[in-house]
Subunit: 425 residues, 2 copies
Amino acid sequence: MKGALLFIGDELITGRILNTNAEFAGKILSAFGLEPEEIVTIPDIEDKIINTLRRLIEEYDFVITSGGLGPTEDDLTTQAVAKALDLPLKEDKALLAAILASSEYKDTFAMASKMALMPEGAQALSEDSKVVGFALTYRDKRLFFLPGVPSQFQDLLKNKVIPQLCLWKTGGRTLECGEGKVFKSFIFFDLNETDLNRFIQEIPSKEGLKIGYYPLLPEVRLVIFGREEEVKNITEQIKVRFKLNLVGEEEESLPQGIGKLLRERRETLATAESCTGGYLASLITSIAGSSDYFDRGFVTYTAKSKSEILGVKEETLTQQGVYSYETAIEMALGAKRLSHSTYALATTGVAGPTGGTPQIPVGTVFIALATPQKVYAFKFYFEGNRNTIQRVASYTALDILRRYLLYGEGFFSYRFAQGFKERPL
Amino acid sequence: MKGALLFIGDELITGRILNTNAEFAGKILSAFGLEPEEIVTIPDIEDKIINTLRRLIEEYDFVITSGGLGPTEDDLTTQAVAKALDLPLKEDKALLAAILASSEYKDTFAMASKMALMPEGAQALSEDSKVVGFALTYRDKRLFFLPGVPSQFQDLLKNKVIPQLCLWKTGGRTLECGEGKVFKSFIFFDLNETDLNRFIQEIPSKEGLKIGYYPLLPEVRLVIFGREEEVKNITEQIKVRFKLNLVGEEEESLPQGIGKLLRERRETLATAESCTGGYLASLITSIAGSSDYFDRGFVTYTAKSKSEILGVKEETLTQQGVYSYETAIEMALGAKRLSHSTYALATTGVAGPTGGTPQIPVGTVFIALATPQKVYAFKFYFEGNRNTIQRVASYTALDILRRYLLYGEGFFSYRFAQGFKERPL
């Protein structure tokens, strides 16, 4: 079964916006073995939409479009579909009522009417008609017309289009696919994909279940689709087997997850950063409401600032080195003391591209976590450019705290870790 | 003159990488009135490349491809071009010599030979043959085959493809376009595009000059193309007229520019962040070598941390408020004192989505700059979501310092500023 994606919009042609829908669709469709064989982007020109649509329908088994379903003059997709397939347009009464009920369109009947049009035979994708978008079967081809708004496109693609394509792909056999099936997604960190693969392959009777995963660097997203009971069953197994790596369910990222955990426990966090240079703090404060659990952070970029601000001992810096377990430990202890926070995370290392040595190459990062009882320090080696190293080191620091909060100190194993030290406060 | 872009690579279809080349190409081609009418992405499948290429050549006047020119088995573009256009492949001796001279391929003659192949009649795009990529005229259509590596794709597009397309578009009239023409690009901040537009329209005798600009949020990039002398002339005019907004020439971003200025002056900077939460520090430290001028930074996210760490007075916080000129001023002074830095930047405000009031709505940000003589504070109102507000506020803080370093205190005018205060230290 071969498919194509069609993105419609001047703003995508002129690069005014980055096409994140294409990236999302590529990932999730590929995860289900439905990867497109062609992705086309065209401007809001009716003839272009008509011709491209006709060609793609001719060449492929399914086509998913994004964009041009809105109420303004440059939204031409629905009209173009009707012309391309020679179908009359009909007003969908439920859709019109839903659009008029929303405050945004209540005074603009003409706009609402336009958005409520669908080609004859089309079916609205959203049950409550709150989001535009429709599906159509045409000469045994499956066509899906989605809005370009990323949250709407991605929600409909995941929850409506993929289930329908799965159902269709398997000829409607309910064992394989169909109504009553559900979607489940997880976000993992530091997950070994080989382990995950082996585990999934060994699961007995996973017929009808679809499992895919794709990178969301440095996190990994796993998506499962199937009958509710089976999904529930495998979800439990995956949660047990990979519980250390499970950051969040659905769309919950690591910074969100840390926020939830700390808020629930009424605990607080402080940061002391060298090589991550503020990136760790900015990850934490990218979450709305983070002031509930994040009180303060320190970016101590030079050796002098580490001793002056955080109280790292001169002899630690000169004898152990700026990049060492002990410096990371003293940074974390300093941040904890200065902030009265429950926990403190510290990073020190070489983000590069220069500054590496044979002993401490670029990518070496020491991360420390101070808790009320103990302080833990890890040595990591991360690959990548400066930005990647800063990013992965910051996520890893957050993950160390997550594992500690959920499972305690016995579960600190990381793929890129090279060593570990701990001591009581 | 109508054109199309063709991106070739499995990794783009499966969403493993985000297609930043498409965004760049869309922006820069549009800036020169050469916006593509279709952008197609296909996997590394020979038949697909052949058929798509034939169709695009049929429908468009020019086609630019990206990807599949490398030495590995999945790099199929050159072979597919030869088949699609029924042209024999020939080895380009200069290209082969250049490839073999680079250390990467010296032991892999077969790989080098593959990369040195070009269809008969094609011309290498890079003079020194250090980068693969070729141009071909076929049935009066202009075809360009570029590598997918973003730095190489973008460099060849800008410096080779666009000049050749301009030359061709104007029928080779040297007044309009052609050899000896040069490219110049600038990055601006807080630029009013209406002013820029008016200015450009009023320039006399700009025949043959092409001027385009596109957002690089929150910066704006301006590109100029034309005969060296004319470009030089208009470049001087733009530099005079918009000097306050000129962040850097070519690809120099604001964080890079600040770094260069501070390093040249052997001066240093510290930060004290509330609403930007570490984003400002991470912008500064995203630049390699920033430890030369950035010593330390403070993220004081709560009121208490502002007084405990930075010495903001209790009465300032209670009487003026956490979001006020005075709090920003005392934060900057605190960071400067604690860091012994030449300058300190501070931010405090409401990034949202909650926490706004009628007096201080979401988007209100106070930014202070402490210098050796004085301290300046600004009130801004930025629109956008939490992430945008944090980003724009951080860039604005850096830009305030840039203007101060280059032009002194007389040039602090910003579109989104709502007020200003200053006082001696």
